[in-house]
């Protein structure tokens, strides 16, 4: 079992209801538990499947069992399935040393679709995110998922990217095993490809 570089290691996974955020946190939690870590996965959902923001927290420690909520402004890494949600989560959990991996594809809130609110421009949003973290990866996860046949794979692409980070104590293999314990083999091909593509994107980015 690899020693934790950050202890506790606190990862936020966020996005919009329906993007597979809760599933991603469960997969990661299962992989970390199997690898022998004390892990706590806190999920926030309820009304969220109706298009609201969703957030899960995956917390790891070598010592005591951690609570379901991490301390404010102490996240180690933020993984976001939607770029504006990355910003929203930085508002509560961000600090200058946090690492952010985000999907670059916007999902516009209703008020934006209705023309009542503005969604920031691509560059403005990226530079704002970059100014609020130690390192930003804005990755074309949805695009990569569509190339693999289904936009819903964006969550697995981002898990692949996350697990390619040095600070993670497990890699894509452990995540793949966790996925394989939850899905039938026929779905594993695209999932494996999505994990690999995520790691590539992180290295390219």
């Amino acid at each position: 079992m690899k020693a934790l570089g950050h202890d506790p290691l606190d990862i936020v996974i966020t996005g919009v209801g329906g993007q597979g955020n809760v599933l991603a946190s469960q997969v990661l939690g299962r992989a970390l538990l199997t690898a022998g870590y004390e892990v706590t996965v806190g999920e926030t959902y309820g009304l969220s499947q109706r298009g609201g923001p969703v957030m899960s927290q995956v917390r790891l420690s070598s010592g005591p069992v951690l609570g379901p909520l991490m301390p404010e402004h102490r996240a180690t890494a933020i993984v976001s399935l939607e770029p504006l949600e990355a910003l929203r989560v930085l508002g509560t959990y961000g600090h200058p040393d946090v690492i952010v991996i985000t999907n670059d594809r916007p999902l516009r809130p209703l008020a934006v679709l209705a023309g009542e609110q503005a969604y920031p421009g691509d560059q403005e949003l990226k530079s704002t995110l970059a100014s609020l973290c130690a390192r930003l990866w804005a990755l074309p996860a949805t695009e990569a998922a569509l190339e693999l046949g289904n936009h819903i794979l964006a969550n697995v692409v981002l898990l692949g990217a996350l697990c390619a980070l040095e600070l993670m104590p497990i890699g894509a293999n452990e995540v793949e095993e966790a996925l394989a314990s939850m899905f039938p083999e026929k779905l594993m091909g695209p999932n494996r490809a999505a994990l690999a593509r995520g790691a590539e994107l992180l290295k390219e980015g």
């Binding site: 538990l33 309820g46 404010e72 949600e85 910003l87």
Partner: protein
């Protein structure tokens, strides 16, 4: 949900709090589990239903929480172990029975699980249901982790049998929806054959001596729980500050103390059971400190009990300083967090503590102005959007300033923009019909606005029937619209009486809304809310009729269920030649007013277009576009 009866004893697995409660119930020998769905509690019964066959138990979705607990009590009277699980609101529904069951007492171990929802993540309120322990004189367990959920459920059944009364276990949305490592234990052999000795009766009179017995049972529970050693202290012998914590606050207090490096100065008294108060242990630790912070979520439940205990012993204990909600160090609204408790500890101890660098906080504040709020709303294709659209149009055409009385379910979102803010009141399950019934009787006093009451199909059976009977009996004047999407959609598509399937996947006897209307002699009709013209005509006519309750059933399958069943046969597109965008005078009617997330206004071309990833092809918007630019075409067969 997983089949938790199949877990291997001794092998650590990642379980959600609710799944751990379900496994704990199986390990505790539950034979009957009943519930009504309500987040954050729904997964408990879902898991038990999934595990029922493997474990050889009976699991039921009941019509409401009171019936669920009554069914559980029946099993207890017949010597079996049983449970009912519910969200905080459900405790109110079951309360009348609870307050009588506690006098009659019980036989087989019986446990009530309440899942409270601080911050109202998925609720219409953030009520603290722990009051039930005090009101009904019942022991109360408050686990903090999934592992404790499992262990305390097991213990709760034993405790209930030992004292002959109901035991309450309180979870929180954070705990119910947290996953952590849990080591399952062995499952017990099957329970006994149920038998109710006809010479035995369960009732509440004479009340006064039985009230005494109820108090004695609680005292006995305190002795048993005290001997079990669940409450524990962690810290220096004479801490400068004693934190008395329960539930998730125990973990937050522990983390706050660690972040502040205050282990030498702060002690934490972990209360895993909070009613009756563990007086002996609390007094012991009060004596060893001068400052006390009480950390718990929502009401000052432990707080008032501790202060009352202190007041009775103040002469011996001397002066103590209490911190918590009264002093403003912890909130009495919303959730706690490690940061909130770190701020409280630092403030009391005079420690330096900065949650976030001030310069960074300043930059965050500026950046967050870019983050447009993400409002929850009806899903693409949701029949409720179409239903509220029709209500909005008809009430506008009617012109008498009609009122819509709302109820609990996905359609509660009618108060927000995707329901066109057309709902004028929402409170609790079934209350919409009661409110409409009262409004409809104000005609003699000159109230001349038309009244629509909306209720979902699951809520209709849960608590709406008495209100409907009342309106029928008293000739109240309103139109009842049953939004029948054939699902308990908000909580995860559990079956209900109308669907005719049981929790364990067996065919039940469907009870349909028309049958009920026929039985009550109410005029009723069924319309498809996707057909806007027909729906609006039926609703307009019903509003004009007046006199007595008229029922319209808006029947159309939940869009998410439809999606799982293969979706709609159309694909939708906008003809850019016909769509004039902002030029046609419609002022972006489809995106600005109709507000389906499947429609996007393309600023570059100045035309509406369909987002194929979001649109499910319901086709309602094609009836809304004033220019007829939105087209339906048969969906291309999948390659």
């Amino acid at each position: 949900m997983p089949d938790v009866s199949a877990l291997t004893p001794g092998a650590k697995v990642l379980l959600q709090g609710n799944e751990a409660i379900a496994r704990g119930a199986l390990e505790g020998g539950v034979s009957l589990a009943a519930a009504y769905p309500g987040n954050p509690s729904s997964e408990i019964l879902q898991t038990l239903a999934e595990s029922a066959e493997g474990a050889g138990i009976y699991a039921e979705w009941s019509t409401n929480e009171k019936v669920a607990l009554e069914s559980a009590a029946a099993a207890s009277f017949a010597g079996l172990r049983a449970m009912a699980s519910m969200k905080q609101n459900g405790v109110n529904v079951a309360l009348d029975f609870i307050c009588n069951l506690t006098i009659s007492g019980s036989q087989g171990g019986i446990v009530l699980v309440t899942c409270d929802d601080p911050s109202g993540v998925s609720s219409t309120n953030e009520q603290d249901a722990r009051f039930v322990a005090r009101t009904a004189v019942l022991p109360l367990l408050e686990p903090a982790t999934p592992a404790e959920c499992l262990a305390m459920m097991r213990l709760a059944f034993d405790l209930s049998e030992q004292i002959g009364n109901l035991v309450v276990l309180r979870s929180l949305s954070r705990l119910s929806h947290t996953r952590a490592g849990v080591v399952p234990g062995p499952l017990p052999p099957a329970g006994p054959k149920p038998y109710w000795d006809p010479k035995q009766a369960w009732f509440t009179i004479p009340v006064v001596p039985r009230h005494q017995a109820m108090l004695d049972k609680l005292a006995k529970a305190g002795e048993i729980l005290g001997a079990a050693g669940l409450n524990r202290y962690d810290g220096p012998e004479e801490p400068e500050l004693l934190v008395i914590a329960s539930g998730s606050a125990r973990l937050y207090a522990d983390e706050a103390r660690r972040m502040l490096g205050a282990g030498e100065r702060v002690g934490i008294l972990h209360l895993a059971w909070t009613w009756p108060l563990d007086k002996e242990l609390v007094l012991k630790h009060l004596a060893a400190t001068d400052k006390v912070l009480i950390a718990e979520e929502l009401d000052p439940f432990v707080d008032t009990a501790v202060k009352s205990l202190y007041a009775a012993n103040a002469a011996e204990l001397g002066i103590k300083h209490f911190f918590g909600q009264d002093s403003g160090h912890t909130p009495c609204i919303g959730e706690l967090s490690p940061g909130k408790l770190a701020t409280a500890l630092a403030g009391i101890l005079g420690l330096p503590w900065q949650e976030v660098d001030p310069d960074y906080a300043q930059r965050l504040e500026t950046a967050l102005t870019l983050a447009a709020p993400r409002e929850v709303g009806f899903c693409p294709g949701c029949p409720h959007r179409a239903s509220y659209w029709s209500m909005k149009q008809v009430l506008a055409a009617d012109g008498r300033e009609g009122i819509v009385s709302g109820d609990i379910g996905c359609y509660t979102l009618g108060v927000l923009s995707t329901g066109f803010k057309r709902v004028n009141a929402v409170h609790c399950m079934g209350s919409g019909l009661g409110v409409a019934s009262g409004l409809g009787k104000l005609r003699d006093r000159g109230f001349d606005q038309p009244v629509i009451s909306v209720v979902g199909d699951s809520t209709f059976f849960h608590a709406a029937l008495p209100g409907l009977v009342n309106a029928r009996w008293n000739n109240s004047d309103y139109v009842l619209v049953v939004l029948d999407n054939s699902a308990t959609a908000m909580t995860g598509f559990q079956p209900h009486p109308g669907t005719g399937q049981t929790a364990m996947g067996q065919p039940g006897t469907p009870v349909d809304v028309e049958q009920v209307c026929r039985g009550l002699g109410l005029p009723h009709a069924v319309v498809d809310p996707y057909d806007l013209a027909a729906t609006q005509e039926a609703l307009y006519d019903a509003l004009q009729q007046g006199g007595g309750v008229r029922v319209l059933i808006f029947r159309r399958l939940c869009a998410l269920v439809q999606g799982k069943q293969g979706g709609h046969p159309h694909s939708i597109s906008v003809d850019p030649e016909i769509c004039r965008g902002e030029d046609c005078g419609c002022n972006r009617y489809c995106t600005r007013v109709f507000r389906c997330p499947g429609l996007v206004f393309d600023e570059d071309s100045g035309r509406a277009r369909v987002d194929e990833v979001v649109c499910v092809g319901c086709g309602v918007c094609a009836q809304v576009c004033p220019a007829g630019a939105i087209k339906l075409s048969p969906k291309e067969a999948a390659a």
